[in-house]
């Protein structure tokens, strides 16, 4: 399967999954992105991104055991696959190469 690289938002979703411990599902992923970026994020965009990432094989998902607090409904838990990790690393490398040598010019901005 060929991938066309990762979009900014997809990167953010993947990184949020990696930042979280325990059962990672839609609700904490949204919370994590909002907490770290300090901006509100469209919940539906996160769920659509999660589904696309799964279709691309970058994320896998499974249903948890029934959760009493949710009226017995299970959660769809997600984790980042090896391919997802590879693409994240590649994106980071690409960005770092683009930033190289710009420190003097953008010194104030950092």
């Amino acid at each position: 399967m060929s991938h066309q690289g990762l979009g900014d938002f997809e990167q953010m979703v993947l990184l949020a999954i990696l930042q979280l411990d325990g059962e990672v599902y839609g609700v904490p992923v949204v919370d994590e992105i909002e907490r770290r970026t300090g901006r509100s994020v469209s919940r539906s965009a996160v769920y659509v991104a999660l589904r696309r990432l799964e279709d691309k094989g970058l994320v896998s998902s499974w249903m948890s055991d029934p959760v009493p607090e949710r009226g017995g409904k299970p959660r769809r838990c997600v984790k980042v696959e090896l391919e997802g990790l590879r693409l994240l690393r590649e994106s980071r490398r690409t960005m770092e190469q683009m930033w190289q040598g710009l420190d003097p010019a953008l010194g104030d901005a950092r």
């Binding site: 599902y25 839609g26 609700v27 469209s42 919940r43 539906s44 965009a45 769920y47 659509v48 589904r51 249903m63 029934p66 009493p68 607090e69 949710r70 009226g71 017995g72 409904k73 299970p74 959660r75 769809r76």
Partner: protein, 918 residues
Amino acid sequence: MSGSRPGPRLARALLTRALPADRRDDVTADLDEVYRRRLETDGTVRADLWYWREATVFIARFTLERLRDRRSARPRLARRDGPRRRALPISLLDVKLGLRRLTAQWGLTLVGGMALTTAMTMGAVVFGLFDAIMATSIPLDEGDRVVALQPWDGRANARRQIFAADYLRWHDRLTSVEDAGAFHTVARNLITGDAPPEPVAVAEITASGFTLARVPPLLGRPLTSQDEEPGAEPVVVIGYDPWRDRFALDSAVLGRQVRLGRTVHTVVGVMPEGFAFPMNHDFWTPLRLHETTTLRTVDGQGAVFARLAPGASVEQAGAELAALGLTEPETQPSPGGAARTRVVPYPLAFVDDFGESPIVLGIFVILASLLLVPPCANLAILVYARSASRLAEFAARHALGASRGRIVSQLFVETFLLAAASGVVALILVRLALGQLAAFLDRQIAGGLPFWFDVTPSLATVLLVTVLAVVAATIAGLLPGLQATGRLMKEGLAALGSRTAPRLGRTWTVLVVAQVGFAVAATPTALEMAWGTLRPSTLGPGFPAEDYLTARLELDAEGPGPGDPAAPAPAAERLEVVLPELVRRLEAEPGIAGATVASALPGTGRWAFLEMEPVNGVDPARPPSPLQGGHLIQLLRVGGDFWRTFELQALSGRLLNSADGLGGQEPIVVNESFVRLVMGGGSPLGHRLRYTRYSSGTGSPPDEELRWFEVVGVVSDLPASVAYGIAYHPAGPGHLQAPRLAVHVEPGVTGAAGRIREIAAGVDPTLRLEQVRTLDDLYREQAFGNKAGASALLAATLSVLLLSAAGMYALMSFTVQQRRREIGIRAALGAGPGRLLAGVFRRAARQLLMGAGVGGALAFAIDAYVPEEALQTLGGWDVPGVLPATAGFMIVVGLLAALGPARRGLRIDPTEAMRGDG
């Protein structure tokens, strides 16, 4: 309680439909989780708004996602067809212009919109209800493949009982289905710890029901086939709601013991929230087929269910089942071979046979469309009149190159926008009306509505409303548009100079007269029916109905004999012992002023037609209503303590006592309305009556109710708002098969319902108190159906009224437009405003008066044909002077509607008018 509360139901239902199947459960559960968090911090309103916003965005985004998937999956077709042609020359500009015109003519928009909305709502409510009843899928995994296997009486078109032997044979031999199982519902008293006993519906079900549902338990285990073995320990699986309400979500509930009727069961599992398979159950116990020979499936409280095997169809399963057939024991012969089998989608196992459902649905669609005809015809004429007055505008546009299609399509868009907006409002009203209806049915049906019953407008209902909107726009926009532009196309700009202007001829006059006539004729009856409905709640029952607790009393089929607990006695025989004891214990209880049992509660008895015994060849009663074919009264059988409990005194004669029901002559007591409506005010004492037939239900009265009964007393009306005769009969042995209990609780006493349940369980643990509520609540629920009917009637009458007014308005606008030149000349020649106004008003006034005359005559005929007694038994109430008031009101409304255009006529500048037309 926000603990398990999901988001707003409609938003949730729409969201569920928009989400892909594989994400449906987890996304909605995630949103519910955040919604509950928001409920705690933001309150209900803000949380609901948040949910709606999120659901809308989710729906939009996932719909786009689906379209994107579909587009990327579709092979790229060669563009052989060249540039795409637009089917209709409709542009965004038409929509904008249409919206602007609808806003500018807001009065007509409002009236037309209301009429269309009323018609669409009525059609869609009937369709939506039918659609919900005829659902073919249940909300379980692959719920559309769950079916019911039924023995069917082809001759009576009815369900038959299922023999255990048949079920077992089907279970073992059928290959086109899997997970076959069976259940039936039994009612039991639930007794746990210190809580008062509560009647609950228990599903006695085979373990395969849980395999079929594919829903794992939240705690513990589901039922297993070992639980069905003879001698196995009695176990129960409970639902989420009783786990929350009775066990406070305690995870140590497994192994606890609960008593259902006379048997103690051990809790082995808890099912997740929302699980209610097979009907609407919260308790599941094993079905032990060795203990029973038949499943109680005739009353719709049981079924044999299965899932179609992969690749198998309903037809294949039906053919295989038909080949296996039924074991017909000799005790239940089937005359003429009427017994057959059938396989149907699971929800249809519980509804009566509607035949071919698509045909029935088709009939509903046609009926719904027919409802649209009167408002559409009105709108069509309005649009025609308006279009004719815009002829100059159309001619100019035509001269500048606009085609006829372009002009007509703009008229179509204008009407379609109005129809579409009406459709949206209609869908909201349908949702509200069906929600109310479902809540009402849920209270009325024993055990509540089945879990798959969903009144959220389905795609089919939305489609129906869309089709209706297109039909309405075609009738009301397209046709008059074509008509108005027809002459323009023939004559071009010359049409403007023509002396023969478009006319509103005789048809228009007939329509206006008919509308005004119908409004004048129907409004009095509608108002009388509405007042009849509102009257009881306005006047009140005349006694403190809120202090009376009522319940339906039922005994489990099996139970101890009166003397020997080991020997079971039939429920009817045990009732004879249980009822007097229950009343005795209740009356001894502090805080209870009185208790009684009767065949029905005051105002809820059985309707029957009666005849009075002639005295010297003369009927002592008033001539009965020709509409009803006889005097219709309510019949109640009451115990001796009824009078004391309801504090009723004899107004004349005497009351019944406990010795009256014990054979021999059976005296009866009647109410004041009986004296007024049946006897015409004469004394009924000493006269005798008998029943000829019941007004509804099956068969005629039993032999014992066919003899003559002598009236020995008269009591006041109970409740005071009743508008029909009531006959009270003594309740003798065997009379109270399904008794109602009424307990007069002293004011200020709390927790009486629980205490009454405890006392009842103390008398007999299998004695269940169903539908415990105050008499006040009961009366309110009774009024629901009448209120819904009265509302529909009022809405229809109001829309006719408004349409008549709109018709007047259009007529006047048209007349003024047509006579601009004439008015201008007359004004120039010095005619005063009064004369001008009289000229303009003459035609409208003539039509109004004709309509009022026709309507008045009709209303008078209705009033003569529907006598007071018939009106009151139908739920209405005579309102004096309503007919002249309606006629007067219609005339005033018509004249007011005509006033605006008439004033426009007066403002015509003579020179402008003459120059413009020159």
